[in-house]
Each structure stands twice: as C-alpha cells, then as structure tokens.
C-alpha cells in the first residue's frame, strides 16, 4: 500500500511527528505507546530494510557523524525484531550492518554477532550448500583476517571454498575469489609457496572463464606480482605487473585508479632495484591520475605522493623544492622529466 508525502504531512499537522529542517522526530512517549499497541511487521519495514542495505546508504560523501547516526538507525531496526526473522532480505541487512560496524566503527564484536546471525539464517533457510551461505562464511573469514586471526580466517575461507567448489564448480568466478582470498591470507602470513599456489588456481579459473582481459584477471596477475616482489624476484614481479597493467590500461582506461595503482607497484619495483628514473616516471603517472580521481586525504594518494617525493629527492637532476616542481609538472600536460626514459 503506497504512501505519499501527504500522509506524513497529515500526521505532522496532528502532532504525531515534529518536522523541522533536519527531518521528522517522533516523541519517545508516542514511540513507546505505539510499540506496545501495535508491532511493526517485517513487511512494514521492507522499505527501510532495502534502503539500509543499499550501497548509497552509507558510502556517499557524508560526514562521519552522519554515518554513525545511520548505523544507529540500522541497529535500531535490527534490534527491534526478536527473534531474528528467518528471511533473506533481513540477512542481507545483517550483512550490511555488520560490514558498517567492521569498516566504519571498527567494532568487530558487533560485526561478528551480526554476521553470525545472518549465517544462521542462511544455514537454516538456504541450507549448508548455498552460495549465500558461502558468502556468510567468507565475510566472517574476512573479519577474522582483518583482525589478524589467521587460523579462524582460514577455517571460514575453506568452508566458503568447499561450497563454491561443490555447488558452483571448479571453474566459477566465485570459486576463484575464494582461492584468491586464501592466497592473500597465506601471503599475509609470509607463506609464499602456498600463497602462489592459491593465486595461480584463481588465475587459471579467471583466464579460462572470465576473459584474458578482465579486471579480476588483472588483479590475479597483480597479486602474483606482489608475491614475487616480496620475495625479491624482480623479473617475475615485473612480468606479472606488466600483464596486469596492460589489462587495466586497455579495459579500465588510462585514468582509472586501478591503473594508477598498477603504475605505483611498478614504480616501487624499480625503486627497490635502485632505478630511480624509471620509478619516478611511474610514480608520477600514478600521482597524476589519483590527484584528479581521489580526495586529498585518500591514503592511496598520500602513499603515491610520498613515493614520488622520496624518489624526487634521490634524483640529483632535480634542484628546486619538490612541491614547487610538482605544481608546475601537474600543469604541464606534456611534461618530460629530466633523466626519465619515457
């Protein structure tokens, strides 16, 4: 039954809500009385559930305090329903709110509790072998991964993988994502052989199923590149970075942040080998893109800025202060660096 703004105005006129420039407010006494008298149903709250589960609910460019407030709305909605409704729309909300707690509040225990509630719904409603159940396992794994609890993370990632392998098959992009996550986990632990093995499994699927020029395939090359880089195998690292870059440049374009990230990786590789000219060239390419695409506080932009500055200072040809030089260089479309090879 659709409602429109007139219904809200009708209620405001009669004092059921206060309305001002910040929104609608309900008096606590009314809230309590209405809750006692008539319980909102899941169907009533469908609009809110969908709205809270949408990407733009919290990811937009809004002050942090606004995000905290919105997370409070979602919490309030979730806490209202006892017992937890066994409904996949509600489990999606639980997943999203868990993620908000994980990434915006750093509140891992609350995030875990919501993920587990969602998992319980998926296990019961969808069964133990459903891709959404696998998603729950995967998210819990990622939460443990974030906290550095590798054993728990691995156990959950494997549960997700087992479902993906069985239900979606050995050649499905989600199965590849599972392999990739486990690869990153081993990589973070410094277990390079295991990491490589999982990265390669993911890559093999992506090359076969997706496309040789799919961004996920590029991501696989990139991960393998970092792995070789970490082990000091520079030629292998470069070869993989370049494969990734070729795809990014072709598919995402020359101004995409992922392309910039690829430039930055190659820059670090050259830097680590002492080839500051090449490194500088790549860092500048990356910086030029990110400067336009990201907000000035973005960590990626700051990292590239730092790399560029460090390399600038190691290049004797440059004499003027870095920031002065940078300002000029950014203004000049066809700027050529002294000592640069391209």
């Amino acid at each position: 039954m659709p409602c429109d703004i007139n219904d809200l105005n009708w209620l405001v006129e009669r004092g059921w809500f206060q309305q001002n420039e910040l929104g609608y407010t309900m008096h606590q006494l009314l809230q309590e009385s209405i809750r006692l008298q008539t319980q909102a149903t899941l169907e009533d709250c469908q609009g809110l559930i969908e709205s809270f589960s949408q990407v733009e609910f919290i990811f937009g460019d809004m002050p942090y305090a606004e995000k905290v407030k919105r997370i409070n709305y979602a919490d309030s909605l979730i806490e209202f329903f006892h017992p937890v409704p066994e409904n996949t729309g509600f489990s999606l909300l639980l997943h999203k709110d868990a993620y908000y707690h994980q990434s915006y509040l750093g509140d891992y225990p609350q995030a875990l509790s919501y993920y587990q509630k969602a998992l319980a719904i998926h296990e019961k409603v969808l069964g133990l072998e459903h891709p959404d159940t696998a998603m729950s396992y995967n998210n819990i794994g990622a939460l443990y991964h974030d906290q550095g609890d590798y054993d728990q993370a691995l156990s959950y990632y494997h549960k997700a993988l087992a479902i993906h392998e069985k239900v979606l098959g050995l050649e499905h992009p989600d199965t590849a994502r599972s392999y990739n996550n486990i690869g990153i986990l081993y990589h973070d632990q410094g277990d390079y052989p295991q990491a490589l093995s999982y990265y390669q499994k993911a890559l093999a699927i992506r090359e076969k199923v997706l496309d040789l020029e799919h961004p996920d395939t590029a991501r696989s090359y990139n991960n393998i590149g970092i792995l070789y880089h970490d082990q000091g195998d520079y030629p292998q690292a470069l070869s993989n970075y370049q494969k990734a870059l070729a795809i990014y440049e072709k598919v995402l374009g020359l101004e995409h942040p992922d392309t910039a990230s690829s430039y930055n990786n190659i820059g670090i590789l050259y830097h680590d080998q002492g080839d500051y000219d090449q490194a500088f060239d790549y860092f500048f390419k990356a910086y030029r893109i990110l400067k336009i695409k990201l907000n000035p506080y973005h960590p990626d932009l700051q990292r590239v800025h730092k790399n560029l500055k460090l390399t600038y200072e190691k290049t004797p040809v440059f004499t003027e202060p870095f920031e002065d030089w940078l300002e000029k260089a950014l203004k000049n479309e066809n700027f050529n660096f002294p000592g640069s090879s391209t």
Binding site: C3, I34, L36, Q46, G47, Y64, D151, I268
Partner: protein
C-alpha cells in the same frame, strides 16, 4: 612486573595518538618540524589509519608466531594469541595504554597455560621473550610499506617536547564548529509559561552547577525546556551539542563534529574525550532522554569533563547519583489552557471552553497530550464538546469528581491515553503503517525520511 624498553615502536604508536590530539594545525607542525616529523605526521593522516592498524594487527600475529615457536607448542601459542587478541577491539593496542595492555595480556596468557612435562614456566625468562617479540615487531615494521611511516628512529619523547613548545602548543585554538551536532531551530514563542524555569536553569548552569538534570514524567516538556535553555545560553557558548541518549554515551559522542575524518573509532573517542576533558571553552552538552540509569562508565565520562563543559540532562528518572536534580512539574490548568488554544484556534464559545478545561484536566495537565488533542481537533475542525464526549465514551477521561483529587501522570496511564488517541485519530492503514515504521527507529532523533519503495526509506 616485567620492565620493558620503551624506545620501540609500541611507544611510537602510542605517542602518535597523543600527538594527533595536541596538534590541531598540521601546517604549523610541518613547518616547525621539517622532514622527519612532518613526514611522520602527514603519512599518519587519519584516513590512512585503517591500513596501519590492519598491518599492525597482522604484524603482531606474525611476530607472536615467530617469537613463541622456540618456547611453546602450536596449541599453547594459539592460546596465548587468543588472549592477546581477546581485547574487545584490537585498536586498543593503538591507544595510550597500548603497551601496558599488550604486556599484561601476554603475561596473563602465560599464567593460564598448563605446564607440560618438560616445561617449567617459572624458569622462563618472560622479559627476554617480550624483548624478542618487540624486536620482531620492530623488524616487521621495516618490511611493511603500511608501517614504514612509523619511523622507529624517531625519538618520540623529543617529538612530544617539540610539539608542546610550538607556538600555541597544547592550548592552540581548536577549530571545531560551534554546533557540534545539528541543533533544531527553536522559536521562543513555541514555549509558554516556562520563563521562570528557563531563567533558573540558565542561572544554575552559568553560576553554580556543572551538571543539571531536568526530571519529570513523560510529556511535560522537558525536551522543549532544554531547547529553550540552549537558545538562551547560545550567545555565551563556544560549542553546543545535542545528544539523544540511547544507552551508550560513547556512540553519541561519536556523532559530534569533531575530527570527523578519523575513521578509527577508539582513537577518535579518545580525542573527543580529551577535548571535552581539557577544553577551556564554554561548552553545553544536552543529553536528552536519559531514561535508563546510565552506566557507571558513562557517568564517569561526564564527571571527567572540564569545568567549562556544562551538561544538561533530561530524564524521567527521579534522580541519578551525583547529579543535581531540577524537578519539573506540570503547569497549572490556566497555563495548559493557553497551550491548548495555541494549537486549537477555532473560536470557542463558553460551552466549548468548559469542554476544553475538562479535556486538559482529564489528561493530567500533560502538555504533550494536550497539544496532540488540540491539534487533532483543530485539523478535523471538531467542536470541543464532541471531542470531550468521545473521550468519555472511550473511557479516556476520569470523572470530574475524580479529576479534582487525582491526576494521571504515571507512564502506564500516559501510554493508555496515547492508545485511545490513536484510536480516536481515525488513522487509515497507510498512516498507521507509517507510525509503526517510525516506532522502530531511534526516537527523538530527526530522521530525514523519504518516500520510497512504496513506503519509508532513508
């Protein structure tokens, strides 16, 4: 007690927390401390912290594995790790008591391990293990691009000293906005007959009491009174915040417009509290609807605020330990009648005036319900006699005789009143649904609701 060499990374991390809250102006700092410190500060910009924390967590995990291997078996290592990682939030390790917490948890974990045949824990040199662990962490930092910014060669004591001695140093002006939360617009005309209360509350907050609680039953106008106090004090304040208490003061403090770019909850809370505990600015914080007894921790937080931070609480509770109470009573009948006629503007004849008095009296002079009834009658264009009649039929009102001796103010009775009002209002299913949906959202917080998906969305 284990003694630890403090010239290591853990301290750098700790100091960074302090450091960030002491320096409101990065530009000033960077110019004063070129190169190393400037680099440290800019790299440690708050938006970068999730990566730092993530890497730091991983590093601790890895370092524990590596360091403990010679001494313990895998199961024991897992137990130690579980204790180290059992803190509610790993970010605790990045706050000012991080280092103590870390060693305490480590020792605690050791004490819980069951000795095995070949091991005697009392012979273990825990100092040595801790030192090795820190060395591993230090080495790890050099290898991790996210942590490299935490230059271990920096003499942290020196940084703190230099920052302290900067022009303006500790007490450099903090450029937080005047309104630390959105504050609803208030028109003084919207509150009637509370001038005495407003003046007394303003006087108390300005001159004698730092924390005052307006106490009274639901619907007497506590919140409106608090708004009026804010309005009166506004010109004398540097900062104002309006928080609706939901059982957690910390959640509410996070909605303040202080360091909003900092995504690290713990660090930000620490800095917000630090500001409120040390500021010399005139600040008023309204804590609206504190209807459950606040936790001890929340009360302590409020008690630690600086003397210039005044707190005005509204509550249905008769008292909260350690807080001065300002009891709010119902307005007399005459004043309530004025409120009724502020919202009911149809010209009443004498008969209707009598009905109006009955209506107002019958709801225990509860101004909120008086307002609801008046607005409803006004919107429907109803005669007051008809309203009064319906109220009586629905068992809403006490008899006139009973009214003389008894007033309904208990929360339970008020809820019953609202129930009858709800029935009287002639709400169709759509409107009932809107009210039901609103009732699941936090009350008393303005909600920027939109009509979407066939009903409400935000």
């Amino acid at each position: 007690m284990v003694s630890v060499d403090y010239s290591d990374i853990a301290l750098v991390l700790i100091k960074l927390g302090l450091y960030a809250c002491m320096v409101p102006n990065p530009a000033g700092l960077i110019s004063a401390l070129p190169d190393i410190v400037g680099d440290l500060f800019s790299s440690f910009d708050t938006t970068n912290k999730p990566n730092v924390i993530k890497s730091f967590n991983r590093l601790i995990q890895r370092s524990l594995d590596e360091t403990l291997k010679p001494y313990f078996n895998k199961q024991q290592i897992n137990k130690i790790k579980a204790t180290i990682f059992s803190v509610d939030n790993m970010r605790e390790y990045l706050t000012d008591n991080a280092y103590d917490l870390f060693s305490r948890n480590f020792l605690n974990a050791l004490s819980q391990l069951e000795p095995t045949k070949n091991q005697d824990w009392t012979l273990l040199n825990t100092d040595e293990i801790l030192k090795k662990l820190l060395l591993t962490i230090n080495t790890g930092i050099q290898k991790d691009p996210n942590l490299l910014i935490l230059d271990t060669n920096v003499n942290t004591h020196l940084i703190v000293e230099i920052v302290r001695n900067l022009p303006g140093g500790n007490s450099a002006p903090v450029n937080y906005p005047k309104y630390l939360t959105p504050i609803e617009l208030f028109t003084p005309e919207s509150i009637l007959h509370r001038g005495g209360e407003i003046n007394e509350l303003v006087e108390r907050l300005l001159n004698s009491q730092r924390i005052v609680m307006i106490s009274g039953s639901a619907g007497l106008g506590k919140t409106k009174l608090a708004r009026a106090v804010c309005y009166d004090l506004e010109d004398q304040l540097d900062h104002i915040a309006w928080l609706t208490y939901d059982g957690s003061l910390e959640n509410q403090l996070l909605t303040l417009r202080i360091l909003e770019q900092n995504p690290d909850r713990q660090n930000r809370l620490f800095q917000i509290k630090e500001f409120l505990n040390t500021t010399e600015k005139n600040v008023l914080i309204v804590l609206d609807n504190v209807n459950d007894i606040p936790s001890h921790a929340d009360l302590q937080t409020i008690a630690s605020f600086s003397p210039t931070v005044k707190v005005l609480i509204t509550s249905r509770l008769p008292e909260i330990r350690g807080v001065e109470v300002y009891p709010l009573n119902a307005l007399p009948l005459e004043s309530c009648m004025d409120i009724f006629y502020m919202h009911y503007k149809l010209d009443p004849n004498k008969e209707q005036k009598k009905a109006a008095q009955n209506i107002v009296n019958s709801v225990g002079l509860n101004t909120f319900i008086v307002e609801l009834l008046a607005r409803s009658a006004q919107a429907k264009g109803e005669k007051l006699e008809a309203v009064w009649e319906e109220m009586q039929q629905r068992g809403f009102a006490f008899s006139e005789a009973r009214l003389a001796t008894e007033r309904a103010t208990s929360a339970q009775t008020l809820e019953e009143y609202v129930k009858v009002l709800y029935e009287m209002a002639g709400l169709d299913e759509v409107k009932q649904r809107i009210l039901r949906v609103f009732s699941v959202l936090p009350h008393s917080t303005p909600i920027p609701v939109q009509i979407k998906f066939g009903c409400l969305a935000i």
